[in-house]
């Protein structure tokens, strides 16, 4: 019995297919647009929706679901007009027994659902520049502490004696980790004789820059996530890419200008001490200017909370809470500066019409430090609006650096709907046409190939759901391509069997050899396509990566269905046949 799978082999195939079905089924239950509200406001929500003739909705305990995004958005504006706090989300309708198995539907990409996509670029160079300036100050501090004199020029420290240099070198190496210090000496001769100067070159360590980059990106992402939460989009994705790029995807969100206003606010906040010295940098404040010291005593990203409020004397204030990591340092600095004024400086970068980035900075608040400040303090000297704005800005988290929008896509829900409907219809129609051809051309064997395609589709959808791939238009295209490759595998096998039967009339032998020989070809073809997919995955971006992931997973499932499942079915139906017809 050549063409027989053992029972356990067949069971394994059936088991795999069953699992695939379980994880594929949730995709039949797509998410529904919904609005979440507080349970105690249910009556008001129902009343509002009824009064305004909203149709096709289902009210649940804490949410209401709609059939279309338009209805959902319309209802949201109605509720917001009535001052009912509500937020948009997508309600998962998967039955709970499937959820218990961790089986969820695939997420749909922006191009299939509509929404807003923003790509932001954090200005990392600016941070590196600032950090270098700070680190250089540390060098001067260290030298001053040790009372060593040195001339500083362009990444170099020049000492007059070897001893002074070595003392400085030791101190700096043990205290400053941002730089790599390398000592050298240089002899310069002129007609008066020779003079030796002792030099330390300092270079910023690569790993320091790397750490800096990572922490800035992390902080920016954190801030962005906070801001995205204020938008009330539940499935927002914030993701970082190379070079300080961060993508924000807000599926379902339609109001791009609002999103940009909140997310794109690139303002960074700095707390600095006001300086009276003539030499200090002047910044605009209200209608005049104010000089500030260079040291940043606190930056906006260390603030954990901020609320506008009123103090005992009915002055408008902003109550600020700091994260514990910066508390000590802030306490120390403010203790040294009691009686001095502290200013809040806002830095913003804007693009002009000519495409140039212009950086503006202005002081938004100046207040006197009354006492050493701890983790909770308040900023006074504000009017009501200023207090509100400042608290919102502080709460929403300020960026550690300026951030520009470099890419922006807004896709209406109707276009997304059109894309998915047309894409899937075309996919199904394509499968039908191919199936009819296979059934006519290869008869029974063609039907087996068709069953294999359906299994392939089920397995691929299951795998995509398990891995958590977001389905996009290019993903659908990749599915078409892999189905093509799966069919190709069947064609290869059948054509090979046909050929073998011309040489040797023994049907079972023909099937056996046909499968074996075709398998080598299929493997080679799939490995090379896999290589192309893997290259795309590593080097590509966005839609290309989505295409590559789907292609790679599709190759895996098509190997399973076109080779193993087809063989099992051929064994089952033709395992004992003495005669077969293959077109």
């Amino acid at each position: 019995m050549k063409n027989r799978y053992k029972i356990w082999q067949n069971l394994l195939i059936i088991f795999t297919i069953l699992i695939a079905i379980i994880y594929c089924v949730p995709n039949l239950f797509q998410d529904k647009p919904a609005i979440e509200f507080r349970a105690n406001q249910k009556e008001r929500v129902i009343q509002t929706l009824k009064d305004n003739d909203v149709k096709n909705y289902i009210v649940n305990k804490k949410d209401v679901t709609f059939t279309s995004t338009e209805d959902q958005l319309f209802a949201l504006t109605l509720l917001q007009d009535k001052n009912i706090s509500a937020s948009l989300f997508l309600k998962n309708t998967t039955p709970s027994f499937l959820k218990n198995l961790n089986a969820y539907p695939m997420k749909l990409g922006l191009d299939l659902r509509g929404g807003v996509h923003l790509l932001l670029q954090a200005d990392i160079d600016e941070v590196i520049k600032k950090d270098r300036a700070n680190q250089e100050k540390n060098i001067i501090k260290v030298l001053r502490n040790k009372k060593v004199r040195a001339k500083k020029s362009n990444g170099k420290l020049i000492f007059s004696s070897e001893k002074a240099r070595d003392v400085a070198l030791y101190e700096m190496q043990t205290n400053i980790f941002a730089f790599k210090f390398s000592p050298s000496k240089k002899e310069e001769c002129d007609k008066d004789g020779c003079k030796t100067s002792y030099i330390i070159d300092y270079l910023t360590r690569d790993e320091h820059i790397q750490n800096l980059k990572e922490s800035i990106t992390k902080q920016t992402i954190l801030t962005l996530k906070k801001r995205v939460n204020e938008l009330g989009v539940s499935e927002a994705v914030v993701q970082s890419y190379d070079g300080g790029k961060i993508a924000v995807d807000l599926p379902g969100l339609q109001d791009a200008s609002r999103a940009k206003n909140i997310i794109g606010k690139t303002a960074a906040l700095e707390f600095r001490i006001v300086s009276d010295e003539q030499s200090s940098m002047m910044y605009p404040y209200k209608n005049s200017k104010v000089g500030l010291q260079e040291d940043i005593i606190l930056s906006g990203d260390s603030i954990s909370n901020a609320q506008a409020s009123i103090d005992d004397q009915l002055n408008h204030i902003v109550q600020v809470s700091l994260s514990s990591s910066v508390e000590n340092r802030f306490n120390q600095v403010t203790k040294e500066n009691v009686g001095n004024a502290m200013a809040v400086l806002m830095l913003e970068s804007k693009k002009t019409n000519t495409g140039k980035t212009v950086k503006t900075s202005k002081v938004i608040s100046v207040a006197t430090i009354q006492s050493a400040l701890g983790s909770n303090f308040s900023i006074s000297g504000l009017n009501e609006d200023e207090a509100k704005d400042l608290s919102l800005l502080l709460r929403a988290g300020s960026m550690p650096t300026t951030v520009n929008i470099v890419e922006e896509t807004v896709l209406g829900p109707s276009l997304g709907q059109e894309n998915i409907t047309k894409g899937i219809n075309a996919l199904i129609l394509g499968i039908i046409i191919v199936s009819v051809f296979m059934a006519v051309y290869y008869k029974g064997f063609g039907m087996i190939a068709n069953i294999a395609i359906v299994i392939n589709l089920v397995c691929l959808l299951a795998l995509l759901s398990i891995v958590g791939v977001t389905l996009t238009l290019s993903g659908i295209a990749a599915i078409v391509l892999t189905l093509g490759m799966a069919i190709d595998a069947n064609v290869l096998i059948y054509e090979r069997i046909k050929e073998e039967l011309q040489i040797n009339k023994n049907v079972q032998n023909g099937i056996f050899v046909g499968f074996n020989k075709a398998f080598a070809t299929i493997l080679d073809a799939n490995v090379t396509t896999f290589i192309v997919g893997a290259v795309l995955l590593t080097l590509g971006s966005g839609p290309i990566q989505a295409f590559a992931v789907t292609l790679i997973l599709g190759l895996i499932t098509s190997m399973f269905t076109a080779v193993i499942c087809t063989k099992a079915l051929v064994n089952l139906f033709y395992g004992n046949s003495k005669e077969i017809s293959l077109g």
Partner: protein
């Protein structure tokens, strides 16, 4: 059904001449007409609006002229959808005004790509194509023979050049999804070539083919796999044609690129790749050594 053996090698000059002419035309078009790169590569701003009725483009143009913003306004697909292309994003107010110019109009899509992003994507795309061709060449060289690797790489490069040539000549927009399609074409064409080469290796190694010339062995291999190649290409072509017709405008450029790719890929793997390998002097002994070393490699 009996396999017909066709003398592909004998007609190699016709095919190669045709390919060289097509590649030359493509290259000339690249330099004279250039490629109509999409928004993702050039950077800029694009807005698509759709109405339930025909959109009055002149109204939109007038509004834009009044604001002194340079813009290109065009219909896409039908007269109900309009695309407005500008260098910078439109001010929010102006955008709302434009949407209100025509009745029942909604914003379908608004896209802004910074200029820096665009050039980065283009670079990444080119690198991805080159690296994938190199990697697959390496695989073929190891698994088959270096002459086959080189000839398949040439057959492979042949396809995207001609497709991009056609895109260039007709001024069809080349965007990111088209690039994905182009890479899929590379994968597809490679698939076809591998099937032929796989059969060639098998035939070269058959003892009874010892006396046969490399050209005849290659002819036989291509002929034997011809029915498979044509059936698969036909099926893939049909499936993508359906995608092209019914998949909606967003998938159209992808489908078009794939359609051209299936034709070019099938042609190049039948008419170009095998013949080139024979011209480069591939013969039986190349494979025997290979399979011997394979056997040794298998030993512990």
């Amino acid at each position: 059904m009996q396999i017909k053996y066709i003398d592909f090698f004998g007609k190699r000059w016709i095919f190669q001449g045709l390919s060289i002419i097509l590649i030359l035309i493509s290259l000339i078009s690249f330099t004279t007409k250039g490629i109509n790169f999409g928004l993702e590569f050039t950077g800029g701003n694009q807005i698509q609006i759709t109405s339930t009725n025909a959109v009055n483009i002149e109204l939109i143009r007038d509004a834009l002229d009044g604001s002194e913003i340079k813009a290109v306004v065009k219909n896409i697909g039908n007269d109900k959808s309009v695309v407005i292309s500008t260098q910078k994003p439109l001010p929010e107010k102006l955008l709302q005004e434009i949407i209100l110019l025509n009745k029942n109009t909604i914003l379908d899509k608004s896209e802004y790509i910074g200029p820096q992003i665009g050039s980065e994507l283009a670079q990444k795309g080119i690198v991805a194509v080159l690296v994938s061709v190199l990697c697959t060449m390496l695989y073929i060289a190891i698994r088959f023979e270096y002459r086959l690797a080189v000839s398949s790489a040439i057959a492979l490069a042949h396809d995207p050049i001609i497709i991009m040539g056609i895109f260039s000549i007709f001024g069809i927009s080349f965007d990111l999804t088209t690039l994905a399609a182009l890479l899929a074409v590379v994968g597809y064409s490679l698939n076809d070539t591998i099937v032929v080469f796989d059969r060639a290796r098998e035939n070269f190694l058959k003892p009874k083919n010892e006396e046969m010339s490399p050209a005849s062995i290659m002819n036989n291999s291509i002929s034997q796999t011809l029915s498979r190649t044509l059936i698969t290409s036909f099926l893939t072509f049909t499936a993508i044609l359906v995608l092209y017709i019914f998949g909606g405008p967003s998938l159209q450029s992808f489908a078009l690129c794939m359609l051209l790719g299936v034709i070019a890929g099938t042609y190049s793997s039948i008419m170009i790749a095998g013949n080139l390998a024979v011209q480069m002097g591939v013969q039986r002994s190349n494979f025997i050594r290979k399979s011997l070393s394979d056997k040794y490699a298998d030993r512990p």
